[in-house]
């Protein structure tokens, strides 16, 4: 098994050096984004006050996205972030299941998932710093005790890595299993027939799991992990810790004043 043949092919080269190129995943990603944009504009046109036809499905879906964002992020941020989470889950679902048409799935390329995870990571950190300020953010990481900041920094840095690798690994593994099965069917049907007929129907259960169920689950997991981490980042220091530190400071000041009174008298 040659590792160099498992990646995506390069389609367009820019310039002479051979270092600037567009791979197959990037081309498919751009085409998918354009198709989904046109679909979205078409579905959102000619809206009537009493919905009928395709508007019923669209309203159902958009309502579900807004409810999902509201229960994970809180009411005041639901309107700002629901479009991002909605497009993320729709694009990811279609990007993971390109194996149904016979193309290589877009997210089976670690560059694509790394880009998405970097965007999510930037979103979480920038929103946390914008809401709490840098001092508030550092204070949040030292929540019960001051040494917890090491654990929080490590867990925040590891988050985009696991996000990218989880999506990549699941879709890439599925693609490999389907590829192996199709090769097996080709080899088997080469024994009795010039055209590989065994590839047709026997692959349907595998396609059902790896190209319809698994993409939906992984898209949902990516989105809900981004939303939950965003909410945890904007939460701030918990009120019990503020109370405990205030009480400790008061106790220390009372003791110091008591000692000063003792020394004065």
């Amino acid at each position: 098994m040659n590792l160099n043949e498992l990646g995506s092919r390069i389609i367009l080269y820019f310039g002479d050096s051979g270092k600037v190129f567009l791979s197959e995943s990037t081309c498919y990603a751009i085409i998918l984004a354009i198709i989904l944009a046109i679909l979205g504009i078409w579905l959102g046109s000619n809206l009537k006050p009493v919905p009928k036809g395709k508007q019923v499905w669209v309203e159902l879906f958009v309502g579900w996205i807004y409810k999902f964002t509201e229960e994970n992020l809180g009411k005041e941020y639901a309107k700002s972030f629901a479009p991002y989470l909605g497009s993320l889950i729709v694009w990811l679902f279609f990007a993971n299941s390109l194996g149904l048409i016979g193309l290589r799935p877009i997210t089976a390329d670690v560059s694509v998932t790394a880009g998405l995870a970097a965007v999510s990571f930037l979103l979480i950190q920038v929103n946390a710093i914008r809401k709490l300020g840098i001092k508030g953010r550092i204070a949040e990481m030292c929540d019960p005790f001051h040494f917890m900041i090491i654990m929080e920094v490590i867990s925040d840095l590891v988050f985009p890595v696991t996000l990218a690798l989880r999506l990549f690994g699941n879709i890439f593994g599925g693609m490999i299993v389907v590829d192996l099965w199709l090769n097996l069917m080709s080899n088997l049907s080469a024994a009795f027939c010039p055209i590989p007929i065994l590839r047709c129907i026997t692959v349907i259960p595998l396609n059902l799991f790896f190209d319809m169920f698994e993409p939906l689950i992984q898209a949902y997991i990516f989105t809900i992990l981004t939303a939950i981490n965003m909410q945890r980042g904007m939460e701030g220091i918990s009120p019990e810790t503020v109370e405990r530190r205030r009480l400790k400071k008061e106790a220390r000041r009372a003791k110091r004043e008591g000692r000063q009174l003792e020394q004065a008298s």
Partner: protein, 73 residues
Amino acid sequence: MGLIAIGAGVCMGLAAGGVGIGQGLAANGAMHGMSRQPELMGKILVNMILAMAIMETALVFGLIISIILLGKM
């Protein structure tokens, strides 16, 4: 070269063992909850699938290491 093959197999085997136990425990809790309150079945099912996919992450990391090792063989 034999050691690389053994490494690839053991990596995937241990990962699958751990994930199997973990996901079995999650399913156990979910089944208990669903049998106690059948009207909450939808919510419990969704949360169970979510938890299982998080456990699957470790398995997927092991799969990537195994594939890299197979490529080096």
